[in-house]
């Protein structure tokens, strides 16, 4: 028997001669030089998720579109998942993987409740984020990633706003303004204009943050061919240690300006 890991269990060529694959029309399956890769490609996808920290909270938004390539196939996908009392997980990328993560997070929530018999041990945003980081990095190591980019928003144990990113590679980082996909090209420059320095998020009011998010969602709808005009926006605020969570569903992109369009005619020389 051949004990070479890449040809394990086969008869040895030098003893028995090369195997005749024609016998019983056995297929030829050559051993690969690299480990089996289960990597796929995203099928139904969700585009950008945006997040912004402000004075006493966090805002996070994602549209309700699920695209099948360039076909805007599903227009009612909720991509903001609530975990526990005060954590929102926004997911972009493959929708079936999103649904898998959603299931895991709800399982986690249930388990926490079962063991937390006397109350008081809350699963907070940093814990959920750490869990997702382990999950996504572990799947990447198996060459079978969950094809998503995720933003976790909520609060730290000391009630300060928390927001961190993690993606299919297991890469994780935090900032005052975060976005996935197209949002990182188009929305972050806009959100950053509000406050350039990370630690200055305390200078941003809830109203300013909300305004900036709505504005960014509009710009994304203008310029991202996979974006929808209907989205969900969650604003988390904390006051005197109590968290308030406002989950707005079905928000529409408003105040679009298209009036200028009728004045644009042709691609250069054409008049009228």
């Amino acid at each position: 028997m051949n004990h070479d890991p890449f040809a394990w269990g086969r008869p040895r060529d030098e003893v028995y001669g090369a195997y005749n694959h024609a016998i019983a029309s056995a297929g030829v399956k050559e051993a690969s030089d690299i480990p089996t890769a289960h990597t796929q490609q995203p099928i139904i996808t969700g585009t950008s998720v945006l997040g912004l920290k402000f004075k006493n909270g966090v805002a996070i938004a994602a549209d309700n579109m699920g695209s099948y390539g360039s076909l805007l196939r599903f227009s009612n996908i909720e991509r903001l998942i609530r975990v526990g009392k005060e954590t929102i997980v926004g997911i972009s990328g493959d929708i079936s993987d999103l649904q898998h993560i959603e299931r895991l997070l709800h399982q986690l929530e249930t388990e926490e409740e079962i063991y937390d018999t006397d109350g008081g041990h809350n699963l907070r945003a940093p814990h959920v984020h750490e869990y997702l980081t382990r999950l996504l990095y572990n799947r990447r190591l198996k060459m079978d990633p969950l094809w998503n980019a995720v933003i976790v928003a909520g609060f730290n144990d000391d009630r300060t706003p928390f927001m961190r990113y993690v993606d299919l590679l297991g890469v994780a980082y935090g900032a005052l303004a975060l976005a996935t996909g197209f949002g990182s090209h188009l929305a972050i420059p806009l959100l950053r204009k509000l406050v350039p320095y990370d630690l200055d998020f305390e200078k941003v009011t809830e109203e300013e943050a909300r305004e900036a998010m709505l504005n960014s969602m509009r710009v994304l709808y203008y310029r991202d061919a996979r974006a929808g005009d209907k989205f969900s926006l969650v604003v988390l605020t904390v006051e005197d240690g109590k968290v308030d969570l406002k989950f707005e569903k079905g928000v529409k992109v408003e105040n679009q300006s298209w009036k200028f369009a009728e004045k644009i005619i042709g691609y250069g020389s054409k008049q009228l």
């Binding site: 063991y115 937390d116 018999t117 006397d118 008081g120 041990h121 699963l123 940093p126 814990h127 750490e130």
Partner: protein
């Protein structure tokens, strides 16, 4: 003939609905030397009496650290305690790695309770022969739990397990109010040692060799004091030998409390007949 047909394995109920193997496991705890746990609102103290098999031997470890915020004291089969504490350590590390959060004490005890319970309903397995006191400090404060091989866990302000532990519990009941209001670690440890001292048999006393002390709580990661480090705590006691025995030895230096302590001894005799005098030798196993 058979004395009992219903105690051959842990999956057989007796006609009265008892699991004798589990009850025998509880007996193994009573054979072990005593361990005492007490909790104030901010700290938990575990103290335990270590045993040596013979004069030349070392004393068996009684307190095991699980994580910076958690530790256990054991009474019963030490190997079983190692299995359970290793499991707890694994779970504590997993909680840190996966959730970036210290394992909550309540969750920890329920995890080992589930593990112990499983052994009471599977054929071919045996219940754990060890009782644990689990001390922890987490976001809901200081916690002390008692774990039993039956799979039951209860939270306590103060409790004791092991041989003659009833005497320690009696002490704790009498001093509950001052224990709960302790805001100094020192005072809490002295209470723990006083309770442990009451479990001593005659002609024994607490020494730095046989006493082990640990504390965990607010701004204090789980710390075990052994050998020379215990001296500082023993120094704070008025006497290191059993208070009741002092009275027997020299009646004259102890008068006002005489009536009180007699009562203690009586109550103890009532509560724990078997634990006082371990059964005949052939039915004994090495416990700590």
């Amino acid at each position: 003939m058979f004395r009992n047909n219903y105690d051959n394995d842990s999956v057989t109920y007796s006609p009265t609905g008892r699991l004798f193997q589990v009850e025998y496991a509880l007996e193994a705890i009573k054979q072990g030397s005593a361990a005492v746990g007490i909790a104030s609102s901010s700290h938990v103290v575990l103290v335990a009496l270590k045993r040596n098999v013979e004069e030349l031997g070392s004393y068996q470890k009684k307190i095991i650290k699980v994580d910076d915020h958690m530790g256990i004291a054991l009474a019963g089969l030490a190997p079983d305690a190692r299995v359970l504490s290793n499991y707890l350590r694994k779970q504590a590390m997993n909680s840190k790695l996966v959730f970036n959060r210290p394992l909550p004490t309540s969750k920890a005890v329920l995890l080992i309770a589930d593990k112990a319970q499983e052994n009471t309903q599977l054929y071919g397995s045996r219940p754990y022969g060890v009782g644990l006191l689990v001390a922890g400090w987490d976001e809901t404060g200081a916690h002390l739990y008692e774990f039993q091989p039956s799979g039951s866990v209860l939270e306590y302000f103060g409790t004791a397990i092991g041989a003659r532990s009833q005497a320690a519990r009696t002490y704790l009941e009498r001093n509950l109010d001052s224990i709960r209001s302790c805001d100094q670690i020192e005072d809490l440890i002295v209470h723990g040692l006083s309770a442990l001292r009451d479990t001593l048999s005659q002609d024994m006393e607490l020494t730095i060799r046989n006493t082990t002390v640990s504390v965990v709580g607010k701004d204090k990661s789980f710390t075990v004091y052994d050998d020379e480090d215990v001296q500082q705590w023993l120094n704070k006691l008025d006497s290191t030998s059993n208070t009741r025995n002092n009275e027997d030895d020299d009646n004259d230096d102890n008068n006002a409390e005489g009536a009180d302590t007699n009562e203690t001894a009586a109550a103890e005799g009532e509560g724990e007949g078997a634990g006082e005098q371990p059964p005949a030798d052939e039915d004994r196993m090495e416990t700590d």
